[in-house]
C-alpha cells in the first residue's frame, strides 16, 4: 500500500447500471477497433508521434451486510475511453465518455494540447522501450463460474448465513461484504496492437467483533480469505483446499461460513489471551500474514518508478537504489530468499495477458538466492536500467485515469526441501506463530516496518502453548529478510493479496497477489501494543 497505504482505499461506486444477475454485455470488437482507430488517427493528425487508447467497460458489484441486515447492494457499469499521446517528447492524457467521432476527436485533441503545453517543463524527451504490435489478440481470466451470473439473492443469503453463523457462535457484531469486479479492456496503439481482455476478480471478507460488557473490552477477528483473480468458484468450499490446524486455512477455495464460525470463537479466546511480553522472538508467519510483509518490504521498494523518484512526493522512494542493483551482490535477504515477479500466475489478482500499454506479460526474478537482481518497470523507464523491453507493469484503474507503473504479483518462492508448518514449529524454542494480517506501516523508503496480525500463538520448546494478544513485530527490511531461517515447501504455498492498493497522484487503486509458504524469521523484535486512555 504505497500511497497513503490505502489497502481499503476508495471503492469505485460509479458507473452505469446493468441488470442485476446478468453478466456484462460485451461491446462488439469491430466497433471497439473502429473507435480506437478514430482516436489513434486523430492523435496522429494533431502531431502525436505515439498514441495509445484504452476503451474500458467496467462492472463492479458490492454487497455490504451486518448481522441480519443487507445494508447496501451496489451494481454499476462504467464505459469510456482514455487517450494517451506523446507530442514533442512529452506525455498528454485525456479521457472521455462521449464515444462518438466528435467526442473521441475532442479528447485526442485535448491530450495533444496538454502535451504541447507541458513540453516546456520537460527536461528530456520520453523514451519508450521498443514494443512490437501484436495485431488482434484476446485474453480472459480462466474463471469457472461468473459471479455476476449468480443471483443477487443467493449472494445476500450466503452473507446473511455467514453472519448468522458468527452470531450463533457468540459474536456481538459482524460486518461482511462480497466484492466482484469485471474489467473488459480494449487496448490499441500506434505500434499495431489491438488487445481485448476480460478480467475477473473476487473478494469475500468480514470482521467479527466480540465484546465483554463487564470490562468494556472488545476483540475483533477478520476473515482469512484472500482476494483472488477468480470467479465465484472461489466461494464454493472444498475440503481438499483446506488446511486444518489451530484454525482452518484456505488454498484456492474458501469456506466463508466455517471461517466466520471460527472467527467468533477465536475473538472470544482473544479476550482471555496472555498479553505478550515484549522482546525478541522467532516468528513463524503464515502466508495470510506474510503476504502483506512481502507487499510492503519487497513489492514496493523494487518498483523502479519509486527507485527513480517519481513517487517522492507521495508514496515515497526506495532504499533499493540503482547502485545496489548494479553491484550485483546486494544482499537483500538470506540465501533461502527467492522472490519473483509474475504477471501470469493463475488465480492471482495481477494476471493479465498484456499490460495497459500493450506489453505481453511474463515472470522474472527480483531477489535470487538473497541477492537483488531486478526491478519492476514499464516502457518509458526500462531504458534507465538497460532493458531492451518493458516488464509489463503498466496499469490504470479505469478508462478515466492515466496508466502508470504498478506492482506485479510479487511472491516468495517455497522451500526446495520438504517442510510442513508443524515440522517448522517443532524446532522453535521461543517464538510466535502469526496468522492473518492487521495493522501495517512502513517508512517511505521501506526500511522500518511494523506489522500485526489476527491470531498469535506462543511457541515454547517446539510446542504451541497458548494464545497471545497485543502483538506487533517491528524490523528493518534487510535485517528481517536476512533472518529468514526456513521456508515450508510448495504444498503449503498460498496466495494473499490486496484488492485496493493505492499509489500515485491522483491516487489510483491496483489489485495484486502475493504468494508464500509458512516461513520462519529468527530473533525479530516484538512490541506490546496495549495502552490505557
Amino acid at each position: 500500500m504505497g500511497a497513503g497505504g490505502l489497502l481499503l482505499g476508495r471503492i469505485p461506486l460509479s458507473g452505469t447500471p446493468v441488470l442485476p444477475g446478468r453478466p456484462l454485455e460485451t461491446v462488439d470488437t469491430a466497433l471497439k477497433k473502429r473507435m480506437a482507430d478514430t482516436a489513434l488517427n486523430a492523435a496522429r493528425s494533431k502531431g502525436a508521434t505515439y498514441a495509445d487508447v484504452r476503451i474500458g467497460r467496467y462492472r463492479n458489484q458490492f454487497i455490504i451486510t451486518r448481522e441480519d441486515k443487507v445494508l447496501n447492494t451496489v451494481d454499476t457499469e462504467s464505459y469510456g475511453m482514455g487517450i494517451r499521446v506523446i507530442v514533442n517528447g512529452c506525455w498528454g492524457f485525456s479521457a472521455t465518455d462521449k464515444l462518438d467521432t466528435d467526442g473521441i476527436a475532442e479528447a485526442a485533441a485535448s491530450a495533444v494540447a496538454i502535451a504541447k503545453e507541458n513540453a516546456r517543463l520537460q527536461s528530456e524527451p520520453v523514451q519508450l522501450a521498443p514494443q512490437k504490435g501484436y495485431g488482434e489478440v484476446t485474453w480472459k481470466t480462466p474463471i469457472e463460474k461468473n459471479g455476476f451470473e449468480v443471483p443477487i439473492r443467493e449472494k445476500t443469503d450466503l452473507l446473511l448465513a455467514v453472519n448468522a453463523a458468527a452470531m450463533k457462535n457468540g459474536a456481538n457484531f459482524i460486518d461482511s461484504a462480497l466484492f466482484l469486479v469485471n474489467e473488459q479492456k480494449y487496448f490499441a496503439s500506434t505500434d499495431g496492437s489491438y488487445i481485448d481482455q476480460d478480467i475477473h476478480r473476487i473478494w469475500p471478507t468480514f470482521t467479527v467483533t466480540r465484546i465483554d460488557s463487564q470490562s468494556g473490552k472488545f476483540e475483533r477477528r477478520d476473515a482469512l480469505s484472500a482476494p483472488r483473480g477468480m470467479g465465484y468458484e472461489y466461494m464454493i468450499p472444498d475440503e481438499k483446499n483446506k488446511i486444518k490446524g489451530l484454525t482452518t486455512l484456505y488454498r484456492d477455495r474458501y469456506d466463508m461460513l466455517e471461517d466466520a464460525q471460527l472467527a467468533a470463537t477465536q475473538a472470544h479466546d482473544k479476550m482471555t489471551a496472555k498479553s505478550v511480553e515484549a522482546g525478541k522472538y522467532d516468528l513463524v508467519l503464515d502466508p495470510t500474514n506474510l503476504w502483506l510483509t512481502i507487499h510492503e518490504s519487497c513489492g514496493h521498494p523494487t518498483e523502479l518508478d519509486r527507485v527513480l523518484g517519481y513517487e517522492a512526493n507521495f508514496a515515497g522512494t526506495s532504499f533499493l537504489t540503482l547502485d545496489k542493483w548494479q553491484s550485483g551482490k546486494f544482499n537483500y535477504g538470506s540465501p533461502l530468499v527467492n522472490i519473483v515477479a509474475d504477471k501470469t500466475q493463475p488465480g492471482s489478482l495481477g494476471a493479465v495477458g498484456w499490460d495497459d500499454e500493450g506489453v505481453g506479460t511474463k515472470q522474472w526474478d527480483i531477489i535470487k538466492d538473497g541477492i537483488l537482481v531486478n526491478y519492476q518497470t514499464i516502457r518509458d523507464q526500462a531504458h534507465i536500467i538497460g532493458l531492451k523491453e518493458s516488464q509489463g507493469c503498466c496499469y490504470s484503474q479505469s478508462w478515466r485515469d492515466v496508466q502508470f507503473q504498478r506492482m506485479a504479483n510479487i511472491s516468495l518462492q517455497p522451500g526446495k526441501t520438504p517442510l510442513a508448518p508443524h515440522d517448522l514449529i517443532k524446532n522453535v524454542e521461543k517464538g510466535i506463530y502469526i496468522i492473518g494480517d492487521s495493522s501495517y506501516s512502513i517508512d517511505q523508503q521501506r526500511y522500518n516496518f511494523q506489522f500485526s496480525g489476527q491470531l498469535f500463538y506462543e511457541i515454547r520448546n517446539g510446542q504451541i502453548t497458548g494464545m497471545l494478544k497485543d502483538v506487533a513485530y517491528q524490523a528493518n527490511t534487510r535485517e528481517f529478510w536476512n533472518s529468514c531461517a526456513a521456508i515450508c515447501d510448495a504444498q503449503d504455498y498460498r496466495l494473499g493479496g490486496s484488492f485496493f492498493d493505492g499509489k500515485g497522484q491522483p491516487e489510483q487503486s491496483n489489485a495484486v497477489s502475493h504468494g508464500a509458504s509458512t516461513t520462519r524469521f529468527n530473533g525479530i523484535n516484538v512490541i506490546n501494543t496495549a495502552r490505557k486512555i
Binding site: G5, L13, S14, G15, T16, P17, V18, P20, K69, V70, L71, T73, V74, T76, W91, G92, F93, T96, D97, A111, E117, N118, R120, L121, Q122, S123, T156, N172, I211, S213, Q214, G216, K217, F218, R220, L308, G309, Y310, A312, N313, F314, G316, T317, R400, V402, S441, D443, Q444, Q445, Y447, N448, Q450, Q474, Q505, P506, E507, T529, A530, R531, I533
Partner: protein
Amino acid sequence: MALLTPDEAQTLLKKVLSYSKADECQASISGNEGGNLRYARNSVSTSGVSRSTELAVSSVFGKKQGVTTINEYDDASLEKAVRRSEELATLAPENPEYMPFLPAQTYGAVPQAFIPATAAITAAQRADYVAKSLQIAKDSGLTAAGYLEHGAGLSAMMNSHGLFAYHTQTGVDFSITMRTADGTGSGYSSKGYNDISQLDVQAASTTAAWKAAHSGSARALEPGKYTVILEPAAGVVLLENLYGSLDARSADEGRSFLSLPGGKTRLGEKLVDEQVTIYSDPWAPALPGTNYSDEGMPREKVTWIEKGVIKNLVYSRYWAQKKGVKPVPNPDGYIMMGGTASLEEMIKGTEKGILVTRMWYIREIDPQTLLYTGLTRDGTFYIENGEIKFPIKNFRFNESPIIMLNNLEALGKPERTVSGEGGGTAMIPPMKIRDFTFASLSDAV
C-alpha cells in the same frame, strides 16, 4: 454538463423523478471538472484533465431499496436507470434500518465555497505554477517532485417528498517535496484552498527547499518520549483519525474508544486537555464546506470537543431515532481552535524538543485506545534553547491522539492544511506536546 446551474439541476432531477413508480425515489447528481499536473526529477511526468458527472437513483418499495448510477442523460437512459433501481429494490431483502427520505429542508447557501477563478484554471496556468516551483528547485540545486490539482464540483439532490439541495465548490491543492542530490535531505510542503489567489507556489516550494537543504546529515537520537512540535501538516494526519471516530453508534455498541462498560459512552466526559476545542462549520470563512449531508440533512455549526469535553457525536438518522435524539450529520471539515503564536514563536519558547513537519503511513493498532503507528518524514529537527539545532533521523511512533491531546503544552495559530494521507483539509494549529512516544529509528530520508 459537469457544472449545472440550480435550474438545470432541478429540471434534470425532476425529469428523473417523473419516471418513478416506486413508493419513494431520490435522485442526486454530482459533477466535477478539473485538471492536474504531476512532476518529478525536475520534469513533468503525467498530466491530464477530467470532466465527469454521475447520477444516482435510489428507489424504495416499503423498506426495500435499490441504488443505481449512470453517466448518460438522454431520456431513455434516465428512464432505464430508474427502472433498474426499482428492479434492484424488488430483489433486495427488507432493510429494517431503512429510513424514509426526508421532506423539504432549508439549506443556507455557501457562496464562498465556489471561486470562479479557481474553476477557470487552464493548462497554461498549471504549467506556469509548476515552472515557478521547478525554478526554485533548480536554483537551489535540489530535485523536485510535486503535484498540482484543481477542480470545480457540483452536487444536487431531489426526492419524491419535495427535498431539493444544491451546492457548488472549487478547490486547488498543491504539494511539493524537494530532495538533495545526494539523497540525504528532504523537505515537504502542502497547501489547499478554495481560492486559487491564496495559493503561493513559490512560498511553499521555498519552505520545502529550506527543509531539504537543512535536513542532510541527520543525527540519530535514542527512541523514547520527547516534547514535540507538530506542524499542522504533521498533526492533521493523526487528528483526522480522531475526527473520523466520533461516531455515536459504534460508541453505543461498545466497539469504540468512546465506549464504557455497561453500554455507556464518554459523551459529555472530559477526555483531553481543556485547550482542545474542535468544531465544524460550513460557513467558516477559511474552510467553507458542503451545506448538506449524504442523507440530505442540513449541515450546521457543531462543536465536537469543547474545552476537552466530548460534546457531540455523529448520529445517523436511524441511530438518532433509535436513541431518541436529534440526528447529527457527519461534517465536511474540522476546525481546531488554537492560540496566536506562530510556529517560529513556539520553537523560540522550547528548551528541548523535536520539530516534526510531516507524518506518514498512519495505521490503527488498537481501536479501543485509538492507538496508531506511523513515522516522521521529510524534515525532522532537534530544538534546543529556542532554536533548530540540527536535523535528526526519522522515528517510528506508536501514539494515541487521545494520549497526545492530554499531553498538550501549547497551541499556535491555526492554519488551513491538507492531509498528506487522506487528502482532506482542516484548520489545525501547530501543537506542542510533551512525552510523545517514539518507538524506533528509521533510516529513511
